[in-house]
Each structure stands twice: as C-alpha cells, then as structure tokens.
C-alpha cells in the first residue's frame, strides 16, 4: 500500500467537496497541502457525447438507477469530477426562511445561510434565462399554471454561454453549466489543491483514508498510479461524498457506534415525471429544460411542480404500460410537454443508509401514505396544468387508462384514483438525496453540529447534502454550497489550532 500525506483530505468533489476545496485553497499559499479524492473520472471535453446511455454510465452511479432496498424507487446521483453538479440542471434556489426554522439547527440562522447562498449565486453566474431563450415546454407550463391561478416562479440557473442543448442531465456538452467542475475545482487546483480522480475512499481511520485508484475506460487517467493508498490527513478529513456515500463511508469505518443517528433520516424528494401531448409540435428538446416551478401546493399538499424534459429512455421508463399505446406516445415526442413532481418527504429515522456485508451502501426507504398522497395530488394538478396549457391528452402513471383526453378534464379526480398510486408499478425516482449525517443538537438527534463537526471526532467534518436534518423543500445544491462554505469557515477559523 502506497502512502501519501496531506494536511486536509476532502472526500468528494461535488457541490460540497468542490466548495470546500475552493474555500480552503488559500491555505495552500501558507504551505498546507490539500487533496480532493474523487471516485469518478474527469471527462475529456470530447467525451460529453449527449448520448443517454453512454453518459449515464460515465457520470452516474449505477447509470442513474440505484435501487432502494425494496426497489420501489431509483436514485440518481453523480460520480465524476464535479460530482452531481455535472449532471444537475443548474437550478439555483435559496432556502426559504421557514424551512431553515423547521430544521432548528442550533446556531444555523437563515440570514447566515442566505448570505452564503448569495455568494454562490454570484460565483456561479446565476441569472434568469431571458424569455426568448425559453422553449414551448416551459412557456406552456407557465401559461397553464397562470390560467389556473397557480403560483408560478422562474428558476434562476447557473449557465454561461448556454446553447440550448437541453442535455444538462447528461453533462453539458457546451461547458455552459457552472458546476464545481467548471468553477470551484479549477480555482482550487490553480491555488494548489490536488484533485485525484478515479480514487475511491474505502475507509476513514484516525486522520487518514484508505483509497483505491482504478481508471475506468473513459476520462483522464488519475494523477496517481492505480493501486491502494493510505492517505494521511494531518489536520482534518472532510466527508463530502453525498447523502449515500458519506454515511456509508462513516459506517464502514466503524464510526457508527457513538453516533446512533448515522445514516438515518434521509429524505429524497420522491419524484414522478408526467407527460402531456399537444396536437402540434412544440419546442421541447431544444432549450434549457427547467425554467419554471409551481409552489402552489408546497404547504397544502407537500409537493412542487417543475418543468423538465428528459431523454427517450428515461421518458419511456416513466410511462406506465407497454405495447402499441406506449409506442404511440413515444412517437409523439416532438409534441410532448413534461412536468416533474417533487414530493416533500418527512425525515423519518427508519429511512436510512446502511452498509451490507461487503460494505456497499444500501438505502432503506419507505414511501409513506403521506408521500403517496402527495404524488397522487400532484398527478391531478399536473394533468390540470397540461390541459390548461392546451394539451389534447395526458398520460398519468395512476390513470385508469393510458391516455386521459381533454374532454375528461372535469373528471380528473375520477380518472386518477388514489388506489392506482402503486409503488413498484409507477417509476418513482430521486435526484435530491439528503440527510444521513444530519446537523442537530447532540448525538441523540443528529450526527453533526451546525458547523459540520462530528462530536468526539475532532479531525472529522462533513460538508455535503447529508448534513440536511430534513429535506430542503427546494432544489438543494445552493444550500449544500452554503453549508460547505460554513464548514470551511469553521476549519479556517480554527486553522491555528487545527494546523498547530
């Protein structure tokens, strides 16, 4: 086993790890050595092909289809230089004050989180897409919501030089999306941080990590030779591998004994994709896929509606049924409008990340009646939006028939019955994985404090979405960055002591 030595080792390079790397990078000028160990590869620019299966295999764990233990949901999370920021759509929202209050983390104030979030909105070139750059898929959502009197807002997004490829979730082929792979990591590297890709951390020990470097058949080769490494961290280790891998890493490392909440209370924003068909072609696969969201039902029914546009396989997978009707709808692709639904799920201790006998992560997640009720209500709301936007028919996963015609708009309640919301039949997915190392008061209710510190383990910090004690109720990446910024400040503030 080869050995390497750094002062600070950051595990993961996504919204949390990338932010930590950039924020701690100034310490390199004082001679401190910082490493980021990233499981995934750094793709060459020409490897961003926009091909669905190809990119999913290169940029996501399990090609974006990691099962929960009971296989009623699949999870999509990134594995690359830049983590999930390579594959999100770049929607950049800041946490509502009432959600921060609900989190009730001692010392974590909305004003602090908001100020840090604004810093990243500026850093990532976040802005509203001009109307002339929005496509019909988004405009129709806006008009449908407005016709119904639903509250609708525009998403700020973090793009620079967007060429309307619509391929955000497959890694932008035009380098437009301002993820950590484009912004924070290059800055950190320029300041002296070493980013080691294709490097899987298998275990954390006392101020060290065990890691394995193995190059896949894509991407730039790792800066380190393939093989096993012990990477010493003289000062701190920062776990920033995300809501599945950070808790799993800590559990695998035997850190669960004093932390009964480790891995627990994950939330996923369970999601559905719904489809409406228009009688004329619309612009949908040209243009940014996500310009608007509707929070009309945020408080009353626990769900959000967002515009979205997915690719042929993901679209096909999210439709119920098969055969001629299914094919007919797929052939209507240029006429399809899509809506993504996010259910706002409660943080239940029984929903958790564990590790199996081989140390691999396993996510236990139960779709509660409350979540299924939200998904049911969201399907009906989406159907109404589609029809209000002029769709001739709608496909709802819980529909009594494959298509619901516009003539039946008054019968939506009857056409989409609650008893048809059947886990295991309907495709329910998650791209917002949160919790598992939640912040809180003490180990009886949490894993970390409001600065990402792990009680009793002074050299260990957490800085990713696993910190969330409950779901964020919005798209979470800006909040992850704001929290990582705070964790980095805590480390810097104590640098004299920690680095002594």
């Amino acid at each position: 086993m080869r050995e390497r030595e750094f002062d600070i080792v950051i595990v993961g390079s996504g919204a949390g790890g990338g932010t930590m790397a950039k924020e701690l990078a100034p310490l390199c000028a004082a001679g401190r050595r910082i490493a980021v160990l990233e499981w995934g590869a750094k793709l060459r620019e020409e490897e961003y092909t926009g091909r669905e299966v190809d990119m999913a295999g290169k940029l996501y764990f399990d090609s974006g289809g990691t099962f929960t233990r009971d296989r009623t949901m699949t999870l999509a999370y990134g594995r690359a230089y830049g983590g999930s920021t390579v594959v999100y759509t770049g929607t950049s929202l800041t946490m509502p004050e009432e959600v921060v209050r609900r989190w009730d983390v001692p010392g974590l104030a909305h004003a602090d989180l908001h100020a840090r979030s604004l810093k990243y909105l500026a850093e990532n070139n976040v802005h509203l897409l001009p109307e002339e750059e929005q496509n019909d898929n988004n405009r129709l959502f806006l008009s449908g919501c407005r016709a119904l009197g639903y509250q609708v807002e525009q998403f700020p997004i973090n793009v620079k030089g967007c060429k309307s490829s619509s391929l955000c979730n497959l890694g932008c082929p035009n380098q437009a999306k301002q993820g950590t792979h484009r912004v924070q990591l290059p800055r950190a590297e320029a300041a002296g941080v070493e980013v080691i890709t294709n490097c899987r951390v298998t275990r954390i020990g006392e101020r060290c990590c065990d890691a394995v470097v193995a190059n896949p058949s894509w991407g730039e080769p790792s800066k380190w030779e393939p093989g096993e490494y012990r990477v010493r961290a003289k000062v701190v280790v920062v776990a920033a591998g995300g809501a599945v891998n950070s808790p799993a890493l800590l559990l695998r490392s035997g850190l669960g004994q004093g932390l009964p909440m480790l891995g627990r209370s994950i939330t996923l924003h369970p999601a559905l994709i719904l489809v409406g068909e228009h009688d004329r072609p619309i612009t949908n696969f040209h243009g940014h896929p996500k310009s608007y969201y509707c929070d009309q039902f945020w408080k009353s029914d626990g769900f959000l509606l967002e515009t979205c546009m997915y690719f042929p396989f993901v679209t096909a997978k999210n439709l119920i049924g098969f055969g001629a009707e299914h094919s007919e709808l797929m052939r209507a692709f240029p006429r399809l409008q899509m809506i993504l639904v996010l259910a706002l799920d409660a943080a239940l201790p029984s929903n958790r990340t564990t590790v199996d006998r081989d140390g691999e992560p396993v996510v236990d997640y139960t779709l509660t009646d409350h979540v299924l009720d939200s998904l049911h209500a969201s399907m009906k709301a989406s159907a109404r939006v589609f029809f209000a936007a002029g769709a001739k028919r709608v496909h709802a996963p819980a529909g009594t028939s494959f298509f619901i015609d516009a003539a039946d708009v008054a019968r939506i309640d009857e056409k989409i019955p609650r008893e048809n919301v059947t886990p295991g039949k309907i495709s329910i997915t998650s791209a917002h994985l949160m919790g598992g190392c939640g912040m809180g008061r003490d180990p009886s209710d949490s894993v970390t404090d409001g600065w990402g510190r792990v009680p009793g383990v002074p050299w260990l910090f957490v800085a990713d979405s696993s910190l969330f004690p409950q779901c964020s109720e919005i798209n979470p990446y800006v909040t992850v960055m704001a929290l990582a910024d705070r964790v980095a400040e805590g480390i810097r503030a104590n640098a004299g002591e920690l680095l002594a």
Binding site: N135, L167, I282, F313, K317, F322, G424
Partner: protein, 136 residues
Amino acid sequence: MKSLTVGKAEFLRVLAARIVPEIGALDAAGWVRFEAIVDDALQERTDAVRRQFGVFLGVLRWAPVARYGARFDAMAPGRQDAVLRWFEDCPLSLLRKGFWGLKAMVFMGYYGQPETHGLIGYRARFDGREGLRARA
C-alpha cells in the same frame, strides 16, 4: 450476452417485441445494439440482481402454463399481452417490480440507441438555438 443464457436471451427478444412493437423490426445491427445495451446494464448490477432478472424471465415464461396451459412464447400475442398486464398490476409487489425492471431493460435497449431517436422525432443537438428559434 454475458448476463443471460442463450435461451433466456432469445426469450427476452420475444418479450421485448411485445413491450416495444418496433423492436420486432430491428435489423441485425439493431439487435446487436439492443443486446449490448441490456448486457452492459446487467453487468453493471450485482450478481444477485442479474440472477433475479434471469429467474424472473423464467417465471414469466412458465407461469402462464398454470392459467392457460401454454408457455408464454407459445401463446397468441393478445394473450401474451394479457399476461404482461397481469404482471404489471400484480398484487404481489415482487412480481410487479420484476416486470418494471424488465420494461426498464427493454426500453433502455431500444430507446437507448441513438439510431432509434429519428423514429420518434427526438433530435436534440449540442447547439439547439436554431431549433429553438425555428419554432419560436
């Protein structure tokens, strides 16, 4: 296919053509692409998942004997579809989830091929600005 026996791979073709009718019209190259995508996806999964997928194909093939007195691949297409619908709505969640997994594999094998995108009118491009303006 590395992940399935020859017999199960052949049966998967029968199922695939019921799930996506256009699959029946795939040429030899299309089938090679279909099988490569499905095989890669299965190879990416654990041994247990691959094994379960193979077992589920066996269940689908033989379960109709009890109800209809014939194997799935010996039944008329309409009856095959009825069996598949039963699995999709099955009260036993294990079978429902198995069918969901089968559908996902078939859809990936077909719609995951860029060569099929023209048939459904999907034409995303790296530079979509012209397409956006054309219909604006």
